[in-house]
């Protein structure tokens, strides 16, 4: 199992084989087939601190997901006022007061790298926290299970319903469940498309069927995938489709806090009658509450497993039982392999948060973060790119002066129009002409959020041209007439070889 680090051997409770997936202990001579029917999982409702945290995260995460497109953010008249908008039409990512242009997409890359590094760090410290609490697959599956519970009742009722022959009762409960799932899935897909187009506009377009076809397509795709993955496939996604569990195995080590069954305390397990002595036996009464609440249908007492998404619900389930039988809580808890090993010898191993692995991930995170912040602080709102003519490199005019042509791309990232002066410097006597510009010759109007391409000709008179090298530095300066913002770039002025 790829998530099992070498130190797993110290976890003495690992039973030979996986109780659920092995063929069982019976001596059936027939070999198990290469493909197995899915064992449906009916997680039981559990109460406790981690369940409360998960409800809270679910409400916040879903609230952000469904609500964020409706948050407005005033940016002026010429740009969308949606707080978070991935605007393909204008090739912008609007995020609150930050506008990211297509050519600045490296900022998005930086955010993705930061997210990945944060994920590595959290995983090294406390295992699959992402999987257990915040992954959309987990959140939506949790929601779908809660809805299923509303229609069909808790675990035992659902198992009964699944085995019961078709009747009016089974039909309306099952239909209600699937219709509810589809409604949730529809709103999930519906919310997604709002991130790509002004939400109120799209909503009104949507109902009179004038929205872009792509919006309907994505709505259909995400409705189908939410229903399929969250409602039907559930833990199968984590176990068979998601690559992250495999990658994560490389990120935790003996010092990571993982959800663990404390075998040193629990074993030997066995049923316990009220009033019997606890001498000579473990705290685990084999009530299987940790198994029945598990959304992936595993037994945490078998040790670390690929299937475990570390959602902590088994902790809540076990704590409740420990409370009832009057034994200390946290028989299942966040613990490290090292501490489990030490505890099995009656020792303790303190938690080491500061270790090379966490420092490496944290250091890389801080490094990328500071580069990103530096980049953001240097983000220009007026810029110019210069493309010199290559063919011809230069033109000799009748009076002996030399002319070069350039294409200037002036980028105005401000949400207001600018009137700009363009000037050249670096070569004495150099004069500038803008193709197609009225008078005054060097004034250029640039609309809000526009990249304006202008063709300019720079002419250097013969006297000056005779004195400069075949390639001399020339600087263009764009200056806003209103607020004085400057953008300057160096380029080369070419002339004949002498």
């Amino acid at each position: 199992m790829s998530s099992t680090p070498p130190t797993a051997s110290i976890s003495l409770t690992v039973a030979p084989g996986n109780a659920k997936r092995s063929a069982g202990e019976g001596d059936t001579p027939e070999p198990t087939a290469l493909y197995a029917k899915r064992e449906p999982v009916y997680p039981k409702l559990v109460h406790g601190e981690f369940r409360r945290i998960k409800w809270a995260i679910m409400i916040v995460a879903l609230g952000i997901y469904y609500g964020l497109p409706w948050l407005r953010w005033d940016r002026g008249p010429s740009v969308p006022d949606q707080a978070v908008l991935l605007d393909f039409e204008h090739q912008r990512l609007f995020f609150l007061s930050l506008d990211i242009w297509a050519q600045e997409f490296y900022f998005v890359t930086a955010i993705l790298i930061l997210s990945a590094l944060a994920l590595f760090l959290v995983t090294a410290v406390a295992g699959r926290v992402w999987c257990g609490y915040a992954c959309p697959q987990t959140v939506w599956t949790d929601l779908m299970i809660a809805v299923e519970r509303l229609w069909q009742g808790d675990r035992n009722a659902r198992i009964r319903l699944a085995k019961a022959p078709w009747s009016f009762d089974t039909v309306w409960r099952t239909t209600g469940t699937h219709v509810s799932w589809l409604v949730i899935a529809f709103f999930t897909g519906g919310a997604l498309v709002f991130y790509f187009r002004d939400a109120p506009t799209l909503l009104s377009e949507f109902w009179n069927f004038s929205a872009p076809a792509i919006a309907y397509i994505f709505l259909a795709v995400f409705t189908a995938s939410t229903y399929l993955l969250g409602g039907l496939a559930r833990e199968q996604v984590c176990i068979y489709m998601c690559p992250w569990p495999r990658i994560q195995g490389a990120m935790f080590d003996a010092e990571s806090l993982l959800i663990s069954y404390r075998g040193y305390r629990g074993e030997p397990r066995g049923p316990h009658k009220k009033g019997d002595s606890w001498e000579g036996r473990g705290d685990c009464i084999d009530c299987k509450q940790c198994v029945v609440v598990c959304p992936t249908g595993i037994d945490i007492r078998n040790g670390p497993q690929l299937e475990c998404i570390q959602c902590a619900l088994c902790i809540d389930a076990c704590d409740e039982i420990m409370g009832k039988i009057g034994r200390p809580k946290k028989l299942i808890a966040y613990d490290t392999f090292r501490n489990l090993d030490a505890a099995s010898h009656g020792d303790r191993a303190p938690l080491r948060l500061i270790r090379p692995r966490t420092m490496l991930y944290a250091g890389a995170f801080l490094l990328v973060l500071s580069i990103t912040l530096f980049g953001l602080s240097r983000k220009t709102i007026l810029d110019v790119n210069i493309v010199p003519d290559r063919n011809p490199l230069f033109v000799q005019l009748a009076d002996g002066s030399i002319r070069n042509g350039y294409t200037l791309r002036i980028i105005n990232k401000r949400h207001e129009a600018r009137a700009c002066d363009i000037s050249v410097s670096g070569i004495p006597g150099a004069s500038l002409r803008i193709l197609g510009a009225g008078t005054p010759q060097n004034l250029t109007e640039i609309k809000p959020d526009e990249v304006r391409s202008i063709k300019v000709y720079v002419t250097v008179p013969k006297l000056s041209a005779d004195q400069i090298a075949a390639s001399s530095a020339l600087a263009f300066t764009i200056r806003d007439r209103g607020d004085g913002t400057l953008a300057a770039r160096q380029t080369n002025f070419r002339g004949p070889e002498r």
Partner: protein, 291 residues
């Protein structure tokens, strides 16, 4: 697969029964739906073969029932692009050359269209950047043979030069070496004088003699002007700008005077529509030397 269950001793997990050099494979059964997904992709492939172009045949290929074709998609998008351009083309057709230059949108469209038409039709002689080469004028500079105004450029493109038609630009640099109009020595002196007009190194005494021929017996000044600055009315090049259509070396100038010159340009009205010629005019005018 063997008929008996085989259990891996180390892990206690059942194996598939497959063995390679003592290595056995644990059996972790995949869910059956996974297998069905795989089958459905196979079905999808067959459906795709039926619906879309798929298999190459000896001649042609299987067309598919949906009639999809990349070529027809290209044709459609080309038609759409043409339709999008048509309103601009209509505006170009109506507007005068000056009006096109004054309207930033039309100017941008004309320059883009002119650039494309130039690359397709003109670049063969005048070069990709209109920089010209020996015998083909550079269109970037301000040294025009037949004039650099919008109208002059338009006329040159429309009718061409020396192509035999009545409206074409027409002039003839005489063959001064033929029929002893000028002796080789006189041609040599005239060439020295022409080089002196562009302030190139020359033999001063010979140039002085050439000066007399230029303004006298040779009759050069009648076309090229008293000061050698040329005359766009008759397509006589300016000889004082050190910009040479055929080259400014002594030998080349001697050849030019001896044998004459007469480059030909096609009448583009016969090959291009009126809007394209207008766009070409505006494009050439925008190259920097337009007057």
């Amino acid at each position: 697969m063997t008929a008996r269950r085989e259990i891996d001793l180390h892990s206690g997990v059942e194996t598939t029964g497959h063995e390679w050099d003592g290595i056995t494979e644990l059996n972790k059964p995949l869910p059956r739906w996974w297998l069905y997904v795989f089958y459905s992709t196979i079905v999808w492939a067959f459906a795709y073969w039926v619906a879309y172009p798929a298999w190459p045949m000896i001649s042609g290929y299987t067309k598919g029932m949906l009639g999809y074709s990349e070529r027809s998609r290209v044709t459609e998008s080309l038609a759409a692009a043409r339709a999008a351009r048509s309103q601009f083309n209509e505006a170009i057709a109506k507007a005068s050359l000056k009006e096109i230059e004054a309207d930033p949108k039309l100017l941008e469209f004309a320059i883009a269209g002119g650039k494309a038409a130039f690359a397709n039709n003109c670049a063969g002689c005048h070069g990709r950047g209109a920089q010209g080469s020996a015998g083909y004028p550079n269109l970037n500079d301000d040294n025009w043979i037949w004039g650099g105004t919008l109208e002059a450029i338009h006329q040159t493109i429309y009718y061409g030069a020396r192509n035999g038609s009545d409206q074409a630009r027409m002039s003839q640099m005489p063959r001064f070496g033929a029929g002893n109009m000028l002796t080789p020595a006189q041609i040599n002196d005239t060439a020295e004088y022409v080089r002196s007009l562009s302030k190139l190194p020359h033999d001063a005494a010979a140039a002085e003699r050439g000066n007399a021929i230029f303004h006298g017996d040779g009759g050069c000044a009648s076309c090229h002007g008293e000061e050698g600055k040329g005359n766009q009315e008759v397509g006589a090049p300016n000889l004082t700008a050190n910009i040479w259509l055929y080259g400014g070396s002594k030998e080349t100038i001697v050849t030019t005077i001896t044998n004459g010159r007469g480059g030909v340009m096609p009448a583009w009205a016969e090959r291009l529509d009126a809007e394209t010629i207008k766009k070409l005019t505006v494009y050439v005018h925008s190259l920097g030397g337009g007057q």
